[in-house]
């Protein structure tokens, strides 16, 4: 992909690249060495800072914190998918009032920061007399925000299908709902699967916001264990460990997205979405899309 920008290097250029490579490696290694040295010098690699990992209680708590993260992710993902499907259908409806309402709802929840939504549910609703738990606030926030983004993804997917698909279905005598369920949705979902999963990666990362409303997930636990005097306040080790867990979880999801994308490319049943429509998706999909285009 990048060899558009430069020719296949000749002997001189190869030499130059090799020199650059050496300089680059030295610079990166120096940077890493500096960071590691600072960690070492300030005692972050001292065995006492890592001992906490050996306690079985800590390991169990770490697992349960991971479970809390996964639980919020699972509930949030399912609800966001349902919310997205409903409002995508709403935005594609033939009734102007339904289109209007769905459009306002989707645009509204996409413009509000997710954290403010969670604050609204956790600190705001009790004032209106509705009691919520941190879990509920996190899941509701994830559902509304990511659901709105997913609604746009679904919509873009359905609109990217050639018009002949629905025209043919109508010509066969199918009704609106039938056309949507039997003809449009299966194709749209297939074509959009990689993008949908990228959005789920965003959702998974967003569960970490629960930390700020005292939902006891991974990050909350990292801060908790990191401030324990008994373990010499291992905040650097605990962030590193938890960070690694997050990266692995997200990469697993991303790998799934890449796998599906590859399978899609082989599969002739999948209709190629045009460049214009993928533009719409980039637009709707937050900074998100951790799976990203393999372009």
């Amino acid at each position: 992909m990048s060899n558009v920008l430069f020719d296949i290097p000749g002997p001189k250029a190869r030499l130059r690249y090799r020199a650059f490579a050496v300089i680059g490696v030295v610079a990166v290694v120096a940077l890493i060495a500096f960071v590691v040295y600072r960690f070492y010098d300030s005692g972050q690699f001292a065995p006492s800072k890592w001992e906490w990992l050996e306690y079985s209680q800590v390991q169990e708590d770490l697992l349960s914190a991971t479970w809390f993260t996964i639980k919020a992710f699972g509930a949030g993902a399912v609800l966001a998918l349902i919310f997205g499907a409903i409002f995508a259908a709403g935005r594609l409806s033939d009734h102007a009032w339904l289109r209007g309402i769905s459009g306002v709802v989707v645009e509204f929840f996409r413009a509000i920061p997710l954290l403010v939504l969670m604050f609204l549910f956790y600190y705001g609703l009790p004032i209106a007399g509705v009691q919520t738990t941190p879990f509920l606030a996190v899941v509701l926030g994830l559902m509304l925000y990511n659901g709105s983004v997913l609604a746009e993804i679904f919509r873009a997917g359905i609109q990217s299908l050639p018009r002949g698909q629905s025209e043919a279905a109508y010509a066969l005598g199918m009704r609106k709902t039938r056309v949507m369920i039997s003809v449009l949705l299966p194709q749209a979902i297939r074509a959009m699967l990689p993008t949908i999963i990228s959005q789920l990666v965003v959702l998974l990362k967003d569960t970490a916001l629960g930390f700020l409303i005292t939902y006891q997930e991974l990050l909350y636990y990292a801060k908790f264990i990191g401030s324990q005097g008994d373990f010499a306040r291992p905040i650097v080790p605990s962030t590193l460990v938890v960070g690694a867990i997050y990266v692995v979880m997200c990469l697993l999801l991303t790998a799934l997205a890449n796998y599906l994308e590859k399978r899609n490319r082989r599969n002739k049943k999948v209709i190629k979405t045009s460049a214009k429509n993928t533009g719409v998706i980039v637009l709707t999909g937050d900074a998100g899309g951790a799976a990203g285009g393999a372009a």
């Binding site: 990048s2 413009a111 916001l209 700020l212 997050y246």
Partner: protein, 215 residues
Amino acid sequence: MNVLLDNLDLFGPFFLTTIELFALAAVGSLIFGTFLAMLRVSPVPVFRAFGTAYVTIVRNTPLTLVFLFMVFAFPLLKVVKLDYFTAAVVALTVYTSAFICEVVRSGINTVPVGQAEAARALGLTFTQILGQIVLPQALRSVVPPLISTLIALLKNTTIAAGFSVAEAGAIRQYLSERGENQLVGLLWVALGFIILVSVLSVVQRSLEKRWSVAR
């Protein structure tokens, strides 16, 4: 309405801090993100690998974790002392750069091969091709996703509220100390963000019209 009017001393400065955070982090991540994108398309494999590693790790880490690291772990390293605001700007820049990088890189891929080939035929070097021919076209063609990334950045500034930065996301906490109605206060905060996001969307649309590359 009262919650807003009685606490204008909160809403005003706090939203101003949000905008400051946003502006500084936006400039920072546009520069660093473009630099990363240049690394990712460079002829030197080591640079490419470094760019890829950075983007992969950062994009799969929650922003809150980056904040946690910058605010609680980084000071222990005693490299430089950052106040909360600077730490927040750094965290936002580090995170958003990875996304900007990917957007810019996808833009580079939209520039027709002939452009770079013609530039090469004229004898321009890699840096010249990238800086004078490809990047200007690439950046213009990715205005919409670029601004979407910046909109996400704007919304992400609220996370700084959890780390002692007095920006819009933190208004709730101060309202609760004053015994004000947090629900109403939060709705005003939400409205504030809707307005800010709309402004960015308008900028997006006008830039898109003015800058679109005729091909």
